[in-house]
Each structure stands twice: as structure tokens, then as C-alpha cells.
């Protein structure tokens, strides 16, 4: 009897629970609609106001009487708060559309809607809008106490003295030092009333021995002069060293002091926070040779002869700690730093050329392995007959190949640094004419856009007041594939740095080190 009551109870409750649903008989026996889009490429590159964009997609649907509506729109995936821009509504094809969008990389969306069923389909492509100033090669050079940029676009057309042309002024300085990239930089001339903020953009930071500026990549115009780049204008004379990005912060050095801001959160992009040496506020002076490490960049304090870590979330530098088996203390090692660089992005391997403070004739190549704030240093003592001993220019190979390139007696060498001591070999190259004044390895492996990938050794020479720069393709072993250059630039002035740019470039596309 109890079992019977339980069964009745269960049946009764089940009936009650389902009784609130009303069967309206509105069943749908039609297969799910499938809209397919074809005929659109994954990537388009256009020059702003020059190239036109034409798309002729094919649309198919398994719904017989489909009536489609079409929209083309773009958005910047890095700026989700900004509204998408609509390119076209209502027509299937995009015909000879002149692209006037601001130069950057967009997501191009083609949206199809069956107005009878409401079913939608999307196709996503990459739209790369370039200008005459943001896809090509910049040469940072100095001449007669002033520094400027020359630009070569992808067709090889040259624009000389871009800053003078675009902004009517140039950098002060005897030496063009380094040209790096900053992203999410607040453009003081592009105020967005909707968000009550300055729009963010990508900038170049050309840095000379006496000046630096923030230059908008898409226009080549100066956004901020050196004093304007800081929350508190630094005292003159200026002596910047390098602008470089860390994991969170954008840094710059001036007179050996380091300042930073956070690009993603800073409304004004002003270098504000200043790092002190320690809580006793002891003086320090960082070398211009910055090593790109994780979690923080690493630099060398020339006053205390110490390697220090540069945090972007503190008010003090962090002293490095000696690792087990180190042959040179990371702190107070009584050395002068002649040069230093990082092997790659987020790498733990860094290299330096150092000399003894007491006896400058004692020179070493230091191999630094840095894990966090712990440094293990191995030394390769350089003999006076080693070409590296008297080298004037250095450049690390930033790929996996363990080479240090250097210039000695106007010849370019590659030194294997896979072991101690290193082994030198002269590179067989048809060098640019004149005294070699510039050396750089430029390396990028862009899987998404292979056209931006490169592995080149750049050599620049000065002949009178004219520069000649040649770029040599390197093979997988880090040696020139040919003695002939694949790149060739000529112009006036002494070359200090060369940078390949494109709209999607970031502060870490190329290793922000030496």
C-alpha cells in the first residue's frame, strides 16, 4: 500500500510540474539555415587615400527564398571601447572603396543577414591601412648637431628629413642613438569627446645624445618634444639614453635616471614615476645600454658598477643578486660597461663588453644569465690581439644563432658566443663605402604576416657627410646568405639606427636592446 502511494505521489507531482507549460504546437521541422561566404581574402593591405578596396563575395544558403542584407564594417580590436566604422550597407559588393580610415590594423567584418529568417553570417579579414610614412624603413641620422629621420617606403621612394618636413623642427644632438616604438601613446592632438580622453596611437621614439621626441607613426609628425614627454619637465641640458618598453611600463632614461608610465592606463602618456636607486636615495647613473629581460629590463649603474633591475611597479631600482658559480659579482664589481645587449625578447641571456675600472686595458666579454633578479656572470677575458678587444661597434644576433657581430678596423666580424672563448670570423661582404658607423641585426618572425618577417644584418658607413647603409640577408646559421646586399639606402648624415615599420608594429616587435 505504501509503495502504491509513493508511485501515485510521484505521478501526481510529475503531472503538476509539467502542467504549467502550454503546448502551442509551433514546432519547426526546417533544417538550421547555413549561410556560407566565400571569395573574401584573409588579409588586405591598402595605402590610405591611395588604394581602393574591392570585394566581390559569393553568398550561398540552404534556405531557398533567402533575401540578404549586407554590411561591411571595421573595428580596432585593440580599442574595444571605440565604435566600429561602417564602410557600406545594403550592397553585396564593395566597389572601389577609397580607404580613408586612420592608418592601423583593423578587423574587417562582412555581415550577411537573411531578412526572412534573421539568420546571420560573418566573415572576418584583416585590413591593414598604411600611409606613406608607416610602412617601410626609417633611417635615424645626425648631421651638423641635428638629428632627423629619412624614410623609404616599400616602393623604395625616399622622404628626407621627415621631422623637418612634417613638423618644422629636428632633434638636437651630435649622435642619433636609438629609434624605438611605443604603443598606446596618448595623441595630444586627437581628443575624443565621447570618452573624454586623448586617443591612443603608435609612436616612434627617436633618441639622440641631447634630445628625444614622440613621433606619430602614421603621420611622421612630432606629438611631443622632450620636455613635453614628462609630467615634470626635466632640467636642461637633456641627455636621454634610450626609450624602451617593459612588460607593463614604457621607460626612458635621461641623465642616467629612469622614468616610466603605463601605456594602457595613462591618459596623458607622460613619463612620471622616477625610480630611485634605493630608500637611501643614493645617486646612480644608468648606462644607455639596456637589456630586455623578464620580468624587468636590466641596466648597469655606472656609479656603483652594479647591474640593476628596472621595475615598472615600484619607486626603487632592484639590485641584482649573484647566482651560484658567478665569476663576476653583479654589484659593485668595479667595472666599466662598454656595451651590452640582449639575445632576444624575454630572454635570460645577455652579453656585455666590460673593462676594469682600475686598469682599462683589461677587457672582458661577460655572459649574463639572469633569472628574475639573480645574475650569473661568466667572463671571456679578451686578449689585446683579439679583434673584439679593439672593436668599436657591436650587435647581437637576436635569433637563436649565438653570434655577436662587431666592427674592428672597418671590417665586420661574427663571433661565435656559444662557448668561451668565442671564435671570430670575418664576414665576406660587399661593404658600404666609407667608415663603418652603424651595425645592427634586425630580426622578426611574424607568423601572422610573413611579409614583416626578416633576418638581416645592417651595416652603415659614413663617407664625408653621406651615409650608405646595406642590409644583408642572413641564413639560418646567422651568416650572410650572400656578399651582396638586399637592401640599400643612401642619404646625408651619419646613421645611428634603422627601423623597419608597419602599422601593426609594437614596442617589442624587434628586441628593444642592442
Amino acid at each position: 500500500m505504501i509503495d502504491m502511494m509513493k508511485r501515485l505521489w510521484t505521478i501526481w507531482m510529475s503531472l503538476l510540474l509539467i502542467s504549467c507549460f502550454q503546448d502551442q504546437g509551433n514546432y519547426n521541422y526546417v533544417d538550421n539555415e547555413l549561410i556560407q561566404i566565400s571569395g573574401i581574402l584573409d588579409r588586405y593591405t591598402v595605402v590610405q587615400f591611395v588604394d581602393t578596396l574591392s570585394l566581390n563575395p559569393e553568398i550561398t544558403s540552404n534556405y531557398a527564398d533567402a533575401d540578404f542584407d549586407y554590411i561591411y564594417w571595421v573595428y580596432d580590436e585593440n580599442l574595444p571601447s571605440e565604435s566600429p566604422d561602417t564602410l557600406s550597407v545594403g550592397t553585396k559588393n564593395l566597389e572601389n572603396y577609397i580607404v580613408g580610415l586612420e592608418s592601423k590594423v583593423y578587423k574587417l567584418i562582412f555581415q550577411v543577414t537573411n531578412t526572412k529568417t534573421g539568420v546571420q553570417a560573418f566573415h572576418e579579414s584583416e585590413l591593414n591601412v598604411t600611409t606613406s610614412s608607416n610602412h617601410g624603413w626609417y633611417i635615424f641620422k645626425s648631421s651638423n648637431g641635428l638629428c632627423d629621420l629619412d624614410f623609404y617606403n616599400m616602393s623604395g621612394e625616399k622622404s628626407e628629413d621627415v621631422l623637418l618636413l612634417s613638423s618644422g623642427r629636428q632633434l638636437e644632438g651630435e649622435r642619433a642613438e636609438r629609434l624605438t616604438v611605443g604603443t598606446n601613446y596618448a595623441d595630444p592632438f586627437d581628443y575624443d569627446e565621447g570618452t573624454n580622453t586623448f586617443k591612443k596611437t603608435t609612436v616612434l621614439f627617436p633618441v639622440s645624445d641631447k634630445d628625444a621626441k614622440a613621433v606619430k607613426l602614421s603621420t611622421g609628425k612630432i606629438l611631443n618634444d622632450f620636455s613635453e614627454m614628462f609630467l615634470e619637465a626635466p632640467a636642461e641640458p637633456y641627455a636621454p639614453g634610450m626609450a624602451f618598453a617593459g612588460a607593463m611600463a614604457q621607460f626612458i632614461t635621461n641623465n642616467g635616471q629612469v622614468y616610466y608610465y603605463w601605456p594602457y592606463t595613462s591618459a596623458m602618456s607622460k613619463f612620471a614615476a622616477k625610480l630611485e636607486f634605493n630608500s637611501d636615495f643614493e645617486p646612480y647613473r644608468l648606462s644607455k645600454y639596456i637589456m630586455y629581460a623578464t620580468p624587468n629590463p636590466i641596466a648597469f649603474d655606472e656609479l656603483s658598477s652594479s647591474f640593476v633591475s628596472i621595475p615598472g611597479n615600484s619607486t626603487y631600482l632592484i639590485g641584482m643578486v649573484d647566482g651560484t658559480g658567478t665569476e663576476l659579482s653583479a654589484t659593485e664589481n668595479n667595472m666599466d660597461l662598454l656595451w651590452a645587449g640582449s639575445k632576444g625578447l624575454y630572454d635570460i641571456e645577455h652579453y656585455a663588453i666590460m673593462s676594469d675600472k682600475e686598469d682599462a686595458s683589461q677587457k672582458y666579454m661577460a655572459f649574463l644569465t639572469c633569472l628574475g633578479n639573480t645574475a650569473t656572470i661568466k667572463l671571456d677575458c679578451l686578449l689585446s690581439d683579439d679583434p673584439l678587444y679593439s672593436a668599436s661597434l657591436f650587435a647581437l644576433n637576436h635569433s637563436t644563432t649565438k653570434f655577436l657581430y662587431f666592427v674592428s678596423e672597418n671590417k665586420v666580424y661574427a663571433r661565435s658566443i656559444a662557448a668561451i672563448p668565442g671564435v671570430n670570423s670575418v664576414l665576406d661582404l660587399e661593404l658600404p663605402k666609407g667608415e663603418i658607423a652603424f651595425l645592427k641585426h634586425i630580426y622578426c618572425n611574424d607568423y601572422a604576416n610573413p611579409a614583416n618577417s626578416m633576418n638581416k644584418l645592417l651595416v652603415g658607413a659614413i663617407n664625408g657627410d653621406a651615409y650608405e647603409i646595406k642590409g644583408y640577408d642572413l641564413d639560418a646559421g646567422g651568416r650572410p646568405a650572400s656578399a651582396q646586399a638586399s637592401l640599400h639606402f643612401t642619404g646625408n648624415g651619419c646613421p645611428g639606427d634603422v627601423l623597419f615599420v608597419f602599422p601593426g608594429i609594437t614596442s617589442t616587435t624587434f628586441v628593444p636592446s642592442y
Binding site: W9, C20, T265, A267, A273, K274, N313
Partner: protein, 252 residues
């Protein structure tokens, strides 16, 4: 017995299927305090502004009277005419209560009659508290707690939103937005040091600006560390190393 239970359950369940009618507020007009209008629909902001600080140090020294505002809301229908409301002071134990006519103007002062009204066609009013600069404020903080008093126009709303508290002083008062993570432990000496060194008030407005961006936070933290270091190492200063009112070393 079981059939009775089954019948009762069936009745309850079947009754649950009936449409519920919309509730319409038909009660009397009621008043309660709340946050600023832009946060009125943000649940976590309900109790913002329950406590406010005001110091005459934050205004020019010749200013003898100032006004602090609170937000008041009414439930029920809006009216075509202004409707007066009533406030009264709550005397608290264990604090120094502000004195009407000395530290603030009495809510029943006939001159303020027109100020304490819910405007016509509105369900929101700014409640002005007129604070008076008295010499006694320079030695300590005074607390004014006040609550809504029922009158012929309004009854009382949510009992937890009936009152507001204002700390009035002529000395530095801990800003509501003070961040221990940024500036360390609060003390009046530290606050005064920050004001003296920068010429800024370091009230809620300044702290909000300083904390608007991570790098600005580190900028100010670093700047105060350096200013304090320089102060403590200046032989002209006799009170070094700087200690707060409880004898604790001031640190940033």
C-alpha cells in the same frame, strides 16, 4: 490524511500558475538618503556618502561659512509644489557632537526654511548643511549626525538610510578615499606634511586624481618618499625624523 496533504499541495501548485499583478507603489511619500544620482542604480553605492568629512583647511582662510551637500530621495508620486521636509540632529555618545548655531546652522533655523524642500516635479533634493567656522574647530573634530524627521508631507523610508554623518573640523581630516596601499598609514602629521610640501589639499579630489592611473600612483608615492627623505635630512628641521601624533615614524 495523505489525500488531504496531496490536495493541499495540488491547490498550492495550481495557484502558482496564476499571473501575478504588477505592484504599484500606492503608499505615502517617503524619504531616504542615497548616493549621488549617477550611482542610484548601483547597489554597492547605496551607502556611499553616509559619512562625509569637511575641514575649513580645504577652503580659503577668510571663509567663515560653507555648505556640504547630501543627496535625498523620495518614494511615491512627485508633486506639483515644493514639499518641505524635516531633519533633526542625533546626539551621539563617545564623540564630540557639533553644536547648532556654533558649528552648523540649525535645521530649524527660519532662514533656512526654503532650503529644506523637495522641489516640485522632482524625487531628488540636495540637502545643504551649513557649516560654521568656530575657533573650537581648530583643536578637535566635531561630529554632526542627523536624521530625517517625519512630517505631514513625508514618512520615513528605508530605516538604514535615514541618517547621515558629517565630521567638521578646522584641522586635517582623513579623506574618505585615503589609500594605505599608496600613502601608508594615515596620520594628521603625514597629511599636513603632504599639504605643506606640495601646496595641495590632498582631499578626496586630489587623491582621486592621484590614483586615476597606476603610474601616477607610483609618481606620487616616489615623490613623497623623496620629499620625506629630504625633510628628514635637512638640518634646519628640528622635528626630524618626522613622527606622527602617536609618535610613530612617518613613512611612505
Amino acid at each position: 490524511m495523505n489525500w488531504k496533504i496531496l490536495g493541499t499541495v495540488a491547490f498550492v501548485v495550481l495557484a502558482a500558475c496564476q499571473n501575478e499583478q504588477y505592484m504599484v507603489y500606492e503608499d505615502d511619500a517617503r524619504l531616504q538618503f542615497g548616493p549621488t544620482p549617477d550611482k542610484i542604480y548601483t547597489a554597492q553605492s547605496s551607502y556611499e556618502d553616509t559619512l562625509k568629512n569637511f575641514s575649513f583647511l580645504s577652503v580659503p582662510s577668510d571663509k567663515k561659512v560653507d555648505t556640504v551637500y547630501f543627496d535625498l530621495y523620495c518614494m511615491g508620486r512627485v508633486s506639483d509644489v515644493d514639499r518641505p521636509y524635516k531633519l533633526e540632529q542625533v546626539v551621539l555618545d563617545s564623540v564630540t557632537n557639533a553644536e547648532a548655531g556654533v558649528h552648523f546652522m540649525d535645521f530649524d533655523d527660519p532662514n533656512l526654511e526654503d532650503m529644506y524642500v523637495m522641489p516640485a516635479h522632482s524625487s531628488h533634493a540636495l540637502v545643504p548643511v551649513i557649516v560654521l567656522k568656530d575657533t573650537s574647530l581648530s583643536s578637535k573634530e566635531y561630529v554632526l549626525e542627523f536624521k530625517i524627521k517625519e512630517n505631514e508631507y513625508f514618512k520615513l523610508g528605508d530605516s538604514t538610510l535615514m541618517w547621515r554623518r558629517l565630521i567638521v573640523a578646522d584641522v586635517v581630516v582623513k579623506p574618505t578615499l585615503w589609500s594605505d596601499a599608496l600613502f601608508g598609514r594615515y596620520s594628521k602629521v603625514k597629511h599636513r606634511f603632504m599639504q605643506d610640501q606640495t601646496g595641495m589639499l590632498w582631499d578626496d579630489e586630489d587623491i582621486k586624481a592621484a590614483t586615476s592611473d597606476v603610474s601616477m600612483q607610483y609618481y606620487w608615492q616616489g615623490r613623497f618618499q623623496k620629499l620625506l627623505h629630504d625633510y628628514n635630512n635637512d638640518p634646519a628641521n628640528e622635528d626630524v625624523p618626522l613622527r606622527d601624533e602617536e609618535g610613530v615614524l612617518v613613512e611612505f
